[in-house]
Symmetry: C3
C-alpha cells in the first residue's frame, strides 16, 4: 500500500489545502468563506459559511467511516456525501464529503481527523485483479454514517461490500446468518449505488454481534474473491 502523505512539508501554497494521502488518492481541503453564489447552488444552510472537503478516487466506505470520527471530534455537521462511480478502473466508488462549520478551524480539524483515520479504515479493504471486498465496523455510529447509510446514531454499525456484486450478495447473506443483527440496507448495481459493481449490506445490533457478522462474511468473501484470482490482500492493516 502507498504511504499516507498527510500535511506533508510539500504542501502547496494554496490556502484551501489541508492534506492528502495516497491511500485512495484522498485529498482534504477547506474553504473559510464559501462564495454565496456557490453556497446557494450547493443547497447548504447559509450558517455554515466554512466547509471542509474530503475527496478521493478510491473508496467511499473508508472515507465515510473516517469522516464519522471527524464529525465526532469536532463542532461540525455533515452537509453532503456523494458517491462517484470511480476507483480508477476498479469496481467501486470514489467520494465527496462536505463538512459544514461556523468556524473555519472546526472545518479544518474535521478534515485533518478524517485524513488521519483513512490508514485504519483502509485496513479491511481487500483486493485482487478481479475485484474487492470491504468491511467496516464502529461501536458507535455518528452523523457521517447516519447521512450516508441511515445508521442509528450511537449504535454499533457495520457494512460488508463485495465486488463483483455477486460476491456481495453472499456476504450480505452470510453476515445476517452468522449473528443476530438488524439489516438496515442492501444496495446493488442498479439500486442505491452509483452503478458500481458492488452489493453493499449495512446492519446494526449489539457491538459483538456486528463484529461477529463481519468476521463471518470476511472469511467467506476472501475465499470467493480468491477463487477469481490471487489471494486478496489488505490495503493497510486489518482492524476488525
Amino acid at each position: 500500500p502507498a504511504p499516507a502523505r498527510v500535511l506533508s512539508g510539500a504542501a502547496p501554497a494554496a490556502t484551501e489545502f489541508v492534506g492528502t494521502t495516497a491511500l485512495g488518492d484522498t485529498i482534504g481541503l477547506v474553504i473559510a468563506n464559501v462564495d454565496p453564489q456557490i453556497h446557494e447552488l450547493m443547497k447548504f444552510d447559509p450558517k455554515y459559511k466554512s466547509i471542509g472537503i474530503i475527496g478521493d478516487r478510491t473508496g467511499a466506505g473508508p472515507q465515510i467511516f473516517a469522516a464519522d470520527e471527524g464529525v465526532k471530534a469536532t463542532n461540525t455537521e455533515i452537509l453532503s456525501i456523494e458517491l462517484a462511480r470511480d476507483t480508477k478502473g476498479g469496481a467501486g466508488h470514489g467520494s465527496l464529503i462536505i463538512f459544514g462549520a461556523e468556524d473555519v478551524s472546526d472545518a479544518r480539524r474535521a478534515v485533518e481527523v478524517t485524513l488521519g483515520e483513512v490508514e485504519r479504515t483502509m485496513g479491511d479493504v481487500y483486493g485482487n485483479e478481479a475485484g474487492h471486498l470491504e468491511f467496516q465496523y464502529t461501536a458507535r455510529a455518528s452523523h457521517a454514517l447516519n447521512k450516508a447509510f441511515g445508521a442509528p446514531i450511537g449504535k454499533a454499525f457495520g457494512i460488508t461490500v463485495g465486488a463483483p456484486a455477486a460476491i456481495g450478495v453472499v456476504l450480505a447473506d452470510t453476515a445476517v446468518k452468522a449473528s443476530t443483527i438488524d439489516v438496515i440496507g442492501y444496495s446493488s448495481p442498479a439500486h442505491g449505488t452509483s452503478y458500481s459493481n458492488e452489493v453493499i449490506s449495512t446492519f446494526t445490533g449489539d457491538s459483538g454481534a456486528v463484529r461477529q457478522a463481519i468476521v463471518a462474511a470476511r472469511e467467506v468473501g476472501l475465499k470467493l474473491l480468491g477463487a477469481m484470482g490471487a489471494t486478496p490482500t489488505s490495503t493497510t492493516t486489518p482492524y476488525i
Copy 2:
C-alpha cells in the same frame, strides 16, 4: 483470451461457490436458503428460497444470453438482472443476474449452464484499445432476454453494441437497413444504459433476417472501430 475455469479443482471451501471463468471475470454462486431479511430487501417472491447468482466485471450481453440458456435448461426464473458501469476501465457494463428456484439443485444447474455458455457468447465480442463491439443472436429468446431487453419469448432476437457509443449509432442504423427486422430498443449513454459509453440496439424478426442484420452491422463496425486503433479481435471464437 483467458481460458475458462469452470468448476475447477481449486474450488474454494465455500458452499456457495459454483464456478468461475476468467472470461469477463465471471463468477457463479448459489444460496440454498436466502436469509429472510435479505430476501425481503431484494424484493423477490418468497417462494424462491434458493437463488443462483452470476456476476462479472466485463459483459452484460454475453452473460445474459448465456443465462437465457440457463433458464431454458432448468426449472428456474430470472428474478433480477442489473447492469453495473464496469468493464475494468472499458466502456461497458458488468452484470449481476439472479435466478430463483424452489430447489437449490435447479439454481445450481442454471448457474453451471450459464458459466458453460460464456465461452460461446463472448465469441462476437470484439475489442481494441479504443473500444468494443458486441453482437448476440438467438433463434429463440427466453426469460433472461425478456427480462433484460423485452425480447419476445420464443422468437429470434439479436443485439448490436458499439463503444464508443457513436459507433453503436451506426450499427443500429446499419442493422435495420440490412434486413426486415423489428427494432425493440435503442439504448444510449443517458437513456437505458448505466451511463456506459455504448449504443445498444435490440431487434426481433425472422431468424434469417436477424442474423443478416447482425452480419451487416458487424462488417461495418469492425471497419469503424478498426479506424480508431488496432484491428478488433474476437474474445473467443465468433459464433454468428
Copy 3:
C-alpha cells in the same frame, strides 16, 4: 499527446466514416438518411434526416466546445448531447453528440469542423495519475453549449472542472471570487454529472471577467492536483 488523425489516408471503406483523432479517442461519423425506426427511437425531429455524430471515450467539455464551433460554422442543429461515465478508467466523461441537418453535406461539415477543433479544446485539460482539471472558454456561446450547459447564446461562457471532485469545489469557489461572473451551474458526482468524480462549474459574464475567473481557478487547481501527484500537464497546448 497523441497526434490527431483527421480524415487520414487510411480511412475505412464505410460511407459513414468522417474522421478520427487519437485525442480522447474521438470519432466523427455521418448518416445520410437515418432509418425511420431508429430515428423514431432517438426521438429526433423527422426533418433532420441526416445526422452527424461525434463520439469519444475521454472528454465531454473538449468535444462540446469543439461542436459549438461546428454548429456555428454550418447549417445544423444540436439534436442531443449525452455524457457517458468513461475516460478509460479516469474520473470523467466520454460523450455522444448528434448534429441534425436536412442535407448530409452540412452534417459532414459540422463533424469535420468539430474534429478539427479538438486539438485546441484539449489544451486546457491537465492530468496526472491522481486526476484531471479542465478549463474551457468561448467569447460567444452557441447551440452546443446552450444544449449541454444552458449557456446563454451569444455571450461569453466558461467552465471549470476538477477531479477528484473535491478539487472542483475549490475551482468553482475560486473562479467566482476572482471575477464578476454569473454562475449558471454547479454539477457534482450525484447531481448533474453521470456519476463522474468531478465538480463542474459553468458561468457567463463579460468576456474579460470569464477569462479572469478561469485563469485564477487554473492557478489554484494546478497546485492542488499537483499536491496529489506529478505536476499536471496540458494534453495539447493551453489556449486560454
